[in-house]
């Protein structure tokens, strides 16, 4: 059997790329954990075609495939627990494209994280996710685990930076999701694949975002006498309105180990050291350092050091970087556990972790990402001692349970793999687990891809309580569940009522739509019932210290703004109709405004979603911990799903400290194309404007331009000095490009940008088409789209590669879109309608595997298609 399979594989892969020698096979059976299992065969493909051929052969033979990168996983992810063929990606290590203009890199999955960083460094760019293992781990593995790193406090994790993948499905067909440009139609498959732990398919190409390096970096070290005060200092720093690039902490056991082997200069009796790093523009650095120092002093910091030069910086980092190794002095080996808890729970959780170690008589040292509550207790032991090994396993379990008890998650960045599958029911109910299984099956119906990972066995999942509904037709029963308003919309009063409405519609095959504020008024067929989330308008929890807020789906943005303003925070979501739109509606439509440039879109800001499904089940995915990779990122599925999968009941969002200064500057020009060189220079610079919009003359009227000129509008947010500096440097850039002077706009910042976002000059209800493209093509596409319909207002976001066009009444929409589509495609993008899509004109994912998977997902969640269905 094995040898026949090997022969078949040797026909599609160079012979030496197929390993079947037992010694070699055993070397592909482990990762960085204690799990081990020998595969049947190993293949080392070099091209996507080879991967596809391998998948086809294995699929036909009914043999499992297990993707493997560098096998540095700390969850057993690449361990072939059921044998099968390990597909090792280490030889697919080519960087395919470094596209600085468009701020994207395209790589094969076997590229080592640091090799990408090295290639980017000379021209001054970087790829943000920097796991501590970055010198050896592969980008494919980073995608698999949704890896984080010290810098993800400020920049986000892998999921925030991977924009598209090419993946070979377990049956050998190829799937492409996303790409260099943003906002592709269909469900966010990229979002599910990142963190899919190799259970959904074999990723063969990755498109990710790259950014210009920050101009200045300042590193600080603060030494504390208690973990409590150190944790308090972390909260205080954030309360000062500062989000450092890193906030890493070490406890006493770790400090002692580090000092013993590395002499990093930490006092042996200190309870905690905090490593803080800021990056950004130089202007505000001194003041930020001062503020951080004060915050630490308020928490009785014992010593506060700032690195003056590269050498000192290296010294401060020395202890952190060497921490993993230093513990070898305590015990020969270790396991590295991984949990995430709300940051405020840190002192308590740490104390309990140490108590667990004491109870079992095993040393535990801690080094962790304090900024986002992600802990890695290192459990130190001697693997030669079987009894110690047994106790270590018990500790791992207790620590995992501890996280859950404190409102945390099973894993912050290492993944579930095979080690934590059994704990999944601690975090997810049967409905959630069943749904994740359905997602798995949508990609891998034969369950051949990295089996026995992530999800607990199906037969271990208990049945959910059936929902009791009165007998009768929809028209008979619905009014008993929810009252109707004057428009005839059903207005369920609470979560349970929404749940029942959907269950009823499902049972009675009644088409329904879910509506928030009704800002996106698609025309409805007569027989469609409307469920309004209007009554789900409560703010449920605001944890300002953890920078998260949990609200019901019908809550509007002004409600949230009001709640967070007291603590000097904001929700960095500024979509169209921000005054009226509901959170649920915004997420479902994946609406975001120009400020997505610096703050990210809903996809980046949402950490948890609770939704009611047509089957009557209520599911909740994600958590209020920002670092969370437990299970598939199902919350991403609902974002941008346009209400086709379920009703969003509850959402947890990240809040941010409100910036100190907000300024808008504008530049006028005859022709949008003249902005292109200026924009190119701006994007390659370390300046990070909050928003950049190019407005056609009509759109320009929203900001008071009446001279028939185009307007380049730049929104700047941040520390006063930084904003000042950006204004100055923008001025210099404009002069250099012969573009004259910027004009500062004094109008209220948010009001001004809200008008711009809404294209407020247009009459309400105008159809708006959104075209996407690669960043560098935005001005060209803008000019061409403008030529299609110069009577409509148009705003382009050159930093996002998006153009929003309000289509003037004169044009036939279908015809307009098909022309716009041709243009957008030319520049690597597509088009979709934001409001009033003419019937049948909703944009579909491209035909083929991508559309098919979306269809399967739709079918899994809404088998009778009672919610709108375009596929």
């Amino acid at each position: 059997m094995t040898s026949a399979l090997a022969d078949q594989l040797r026909e599609v892969i160079p012979a030496e790329g197929v390993l079947d020698d037992p010694v070699q096979l055993s070397l592909y059976g482990y990762d960085g954990t204690l799990y081990e299992s020998t595969p049947q065969l190993v293949v080392l493909p070099e091209t996507t075609e080879q991967v596809a051929a391998v998948a086809r052969i294995c699929h036909a033979a009914g043999v499992a495939v297990v993707p493997r990168g560098a096998a540095t996983s700390l969850s057993g992810g690449p361990v072939p627990v059921r044998g099968g063929v390990v597909v090792a990606f280490t030889r697919m290590d080519r960087i395919l494209q470094l596209d600085y203009e468009n701020q994207r890199a395209v790589v094969q999955p076997g590229v080592i994280n640091i090799d990408l960083q090295d290639a980017l460094a000379t021209p001054g760019y970087f790829y943000a996710p920097d796991p501590a293992s970055q010198n050896v781990c592969t980008l494919g593995g980073n995608v698999g685990e949704n890896a984080g790193g010290p810098h993800c406090l400020k920049y986000g994790v892998t999921a925030n930076h991977v924009l598209g993948v090419e993946m070979v499905l377990p049956d050998g067909r190829c799937l492409r999701t996303g790409g260099k440009s943003l906002d592709w139609p269909g469900y966010d498959l990229t979002g599910i694949i990142v963190g899919g732990e190799g259970t959904l398919g074999l990723v063969t190409e990755i498109t990710c975002r790259i950014m210009p390096m920050p101009e200045t970096v300042v590193t600080m070290l603060a030494i504390f006498d208690s973990l409590g005060t150190a944790s308090q200092a972390v909260s205080d720093i954030i309360a000062e309105g500062i989000i450092p690039a890193t906030l890493e902490m070490m406890d006493n056991a770790m400090i002692r180990a580090v000092e013993e082997s590395l002499q990093a200069g930490y006092p042996l009796d200190a309870a905690a050291v905090l490593l803080i790093e800021l990056d950004g523009l130089p202007a505000s650095m001194d003041r930020q350092v001062e503020q951080i120092k004060r915050a630490c002093q308020r928490s009785d910091v014992r010593d506060f050091r700032v690195a003056d030069d590269e050498q000192q910086r290296a010294l401060l980092w020395k202890g952190r970087k060497g921490a993993f190794g230093a513990v070898v002095n305590i015990a020969p080996s270790k396991i590295c556990t991984d949990i995430s808890v709300p940051r405020t729970a840190l002192p308590q959780v740490l104390a309990e972790v140490l108590a667990i170690g004491q109870k079992w008589g095993i040393s535990i040292a801690n080094v962790f990402h304090a900024g986002d509550g992600n802990l890695h207790p290192l459990v130190l032991y001697d693997p030669r001692d079987e009894d110690q090994a047994r106790r270590v396993r018990a500790i791992d379990e207790e620590i995992t349970r501890l996280a859950i008890a404190h409102g945390g998650v099973l894993t912050g960045e290492h993944g579930i793999g095979c080690g934590k599958r059994k704990y999944m029911p601690l975090m997810f109910g049967p409905a959630e687990l069943r749904l994740m299984w359905q997602v798995k099956e949508a990609f891998d119906p034969d369950l051949l891809c990295n089996p026995d990972k992530v999800l607990p066995d199906r037969d271990e999942i208990t049945e959910s309580e059936p929902l009791l509904l009165p007998e009768g037709s929809f028209t008979q029963v619905a009014p008993q569940v929810a009252a109707r308003n004057e428009q005839g919309w059903f207005e369920p009063v609470d979560e349970e009522a929404v749940q029942k409405m959907l269950a009823l519609a499902h049972r009675e095959r009644q088409p329904v739509v879910v509506r928030g504020a009704g800002t996106k008024l698609d025309p409805l067929a007569d027989d469609v019932a409307v469920i309004s989330t209007k009554c789900l308008n409560h703010i449920l929890a605001y944890d300002y210290e953890n920078l998260t807020i949990t609200v019901e789906g019908g809550v509007t943005l002004p409600q949230i703004e009001e709640a967070v303003a007291y603590h000097g925070q904001m929700l960095a979501l500024r979509p169209r109709f921000a005054q009226r739109a509901t959170v649920g509606g915004i997420l479902a439509a994946h609406e975001s405004g120009p400020h997505r440039l610096v703050y990210g879109g809903p996809r980046d800001l949402v950490t948890r979603i609770k939704a009611a499904l047509p089957g009557g089940e209520v599911v909740s995915f994600g958590s209020s911990c920002v670092k969370n990779v437990a299970g598939y990122a199902m919350e991403k599925l609902f974002i941008g799903s346009c209400g086709r999968l379920g009703a969003i009941l509850e959402v947890t969002l990240r809040t941010l400290p409100r910036p100190e200064a907000l300024r808008t500057v504008a530049l006028s020009m005859e022709d949008p194309m003249v902005a292109a060189p200026l924009l190119a220079e701006l994007f390659a610079s370390p300046l990070r404007p909050a928003a950049i919009e190019l407005l056609n003359p009509l759109a320009g009227e929203t900001v008071g331009r009446v001279n028939r000129q185009w307007t380049l509008l730049v929104g700047l947010e941040g520390f006063t000095e930084d904003v000042e500096e950006m204004v100055e440097r923008l001025g210099a850039m404009a002069t250099e490009h012969g573009l004259g002077d910027w004009r500062e706009l004094d109008r209220d910042y948010l009001a001004l940008w809200s008008d711009v976002t809404n294209l407020a000059v247009q009459p309400a209800g105008t159809a708006i088409l959104r075209a996407s493209c690669q960043l560098s093509a935005t001005t060209t596409l803008t000019a061409e789209l403008n030529a299609l319909d110069s009577a409509g207002a148009l705003r382009a976001s050159p930093g996002l590669g998006l153009v929003h066009c309000a289509v003037s009444g004169k044009l036939e929409l279908r015809n307009y879109q098909s022309q716009a589509q041709i243009l957008a495609e030319k520049y690597g993008g597509t088009t979709s309608w934001l409001a009033l899509p003419p019937p049948g004109l909703a944009t579909l994912p491209p035909p083929g595997t991508s559309r098919e998977i979306c269809r399967r997902l739709k079918h899994a969640l809404d088998p009778h298609s009672i919610l709108p269905d375009v596929l």
């Binding site: 096998a71 020969p332 693997p383």
Partner: protein, 433 residues
């Protein structure tokens, strides 16, 4: 030397399979497969130790295609000494299956017998292929043993006219005791430096005599009284092949040969020899002479950097420097050769990226694993090309031979020289070839 299973177990228990050793293992970085990285090698050994796998396979390749360069130990949090483990693994393998007869003959009969060795090398270098050379080729033994083979392989450009020891009288060495022609002394013009006993390594003697000559002349210029040691092979080759006994035998024999000689320091320009000489104390824990000798051993670059050689002003020639594993990583001598090039040689130094990555020469690795060696070398040569330097400098004969070969393969005209050769040349000391 601790060659017991305790050592192996202690090292292996610190390997937690983190994979950090993938960073700069030159072999792994070109082949990107698990058996070729320290983690894979160590796990193979672990399987053998635990009885999950046995040694009955024809060849446990992971053990044998390690360069023993030590790079992984530096990257490893637990400092697992994979290179040491691989030597033990090879030892165990041969203990189980017996050492190939030819290898045993070379290590036990040829290396301890310089007369026989010299005659044989001379014979083979005259082009008379012996049966030995093809066996040596297969086993990948000692490239200098079969220079004709190296020529055939293209590894060596031309053969030296005469071995270094043959040239010594020409260099003005006089033999104080006419009874021992192998002990020769050269007096400096002004004896200001230490009394140096010069250790001529096999590769220097047979293949790069001009390098040794340069070393001797420089030392003399720097005020040292130089006596050439009547030494044999230092023992590194058998040790690398896991024949620790033969290595011990050679070390002991050398200690006997050097007994009673009057010197302050034992010096060699071969980074491999100097590294191994410093390890003799470990090799012969029960012989106090070994410890004394190890303590007195210096690599020539180490010593010259301390002595007062006249400084030369910049000649504008650009040079890049490759760190030999045995000199840089093993002995921590990295600053001195660079300082010599810049201060004493007046060169402009352009740093080489991955300067301390093994060039793939690794003793006779380029003969035992020619393909792998070529790939490792190709990466090194790419890095050298990127510096644009006019001259390539290094400090170990094995690296010189390997890198020169890589440079010739690309048809470059770039000299690849030992640091001391470049210095000697800059200081007008003529060395014959």
């Amino acid at each position: 030397m601790i060659s017991d299973s305790q050592f192996i177990e202690a090292e292996l228990s610190r390997c937690n399979k983190c994979g950090y050793c993938m960073q700069s293992c030159p072999v792994y970085r070109v082949v990107r497969r698990e058996p070729s990285v320290a983690r894979g090698r160590n796990q193979t050994l672990r399987a053998v130790m635990e009885g999950d796998s046995d040694l009955t396979r024809p060849m446990l390749e992971p053990f044998f295609e390690c360069l023993l360069c030590g790079a992984c130990t530096v990257d490893c949090f637990g400092s697992v000494q994979t290179n040491e483990l691989m030597v033990r693994a090879r030892q165990a393998y041969y203990a189980e299956y017996g050492q190939p007869a030819v290898q045993r003959y070379i290590f036990r009969n040829l290396l301890p017998n310089p007369g026989r060795l010299t005659r044989l090398v001379r014979l083979t270098s005259l082009g008379k292929r012996t049966g030995l050379s093809s066996v040596a080729r297969r086993l990948g033994l000692l490239r200098w043993l079969s220079p004709t083979l190296d020529v055939a392989e293209g590894l060596v450009a031309t053969m030296p006219g005469a071995f270094l020891r043959d040239r010594l009288p020409r260099l003005g060495f006089i033999s104080p005791k006419h009874t021992d022609v192998r002990l020769l002394r050269l007096e400096p013009e002004q004896a200001t430096g230490p009394k140096v006993l010069y250790f001529i390594g096999c590769a220097t003697n047979f293949q790069l005599p001009q390098t040794g000559e340069a070393g001797i002349k420089l030392l003399q210029k720097a005020g040292c009284q130089v006596t050439v040691a009547p030494n044999n092979c230092c023992g590194l080759p058998p040790w690398s092949y896991g024949d620790i006994e033969a290595a011990q035998q050679l070390a002991r024999q050398n200690l006997d040969l050097l007994a009673g000689l009057d010197f302050d320091l034992l010096v060699t320009e071969c980074g491999s020899c100097s590294s191994f000489l410093k390890r003799w104390a470990e090799l012969l824990p029960n012989d106090p002479r070994a410890e004394t000798l190890a303590a007195r051993t210096r690599d020539i670059t180490e010593l010259l950097a301390e002595l007062s050689l006249p400084k030369l002003m910049g000649g504008g020639t650009t040079v890049t420097y490759h760190d030999p594993c045995h000199l840089g990583r093993e002995q921590g001598v990295t600053e001195q050769p660079r300082k010599l090039l810049v201060d004493v040689g007046g060169f402009e130094l352009i740093e080489l990226i991955e300067a301390n990555w093994c060039c793939g020469g690794a003793g006779s690795y380029n003969l035992s694993h020619p393909e792998m060696s070529q790939q490792v070398l190709a990466r090194k040569i790419d890095r050298i090309a990127a510096t644009g330097a006019e001259v390539v400098a290094t400090a170990c004969p094995a690296c010189i031979i390997q890198i020169s070969y890589g440079v010739r393969e690309r048809a470059w005209q770039r000299p690849v020289r030992h640091v001391i050769e470049l210095l000697a040349e800059r200081h007008g000391l003529s060395v014959g070839s």
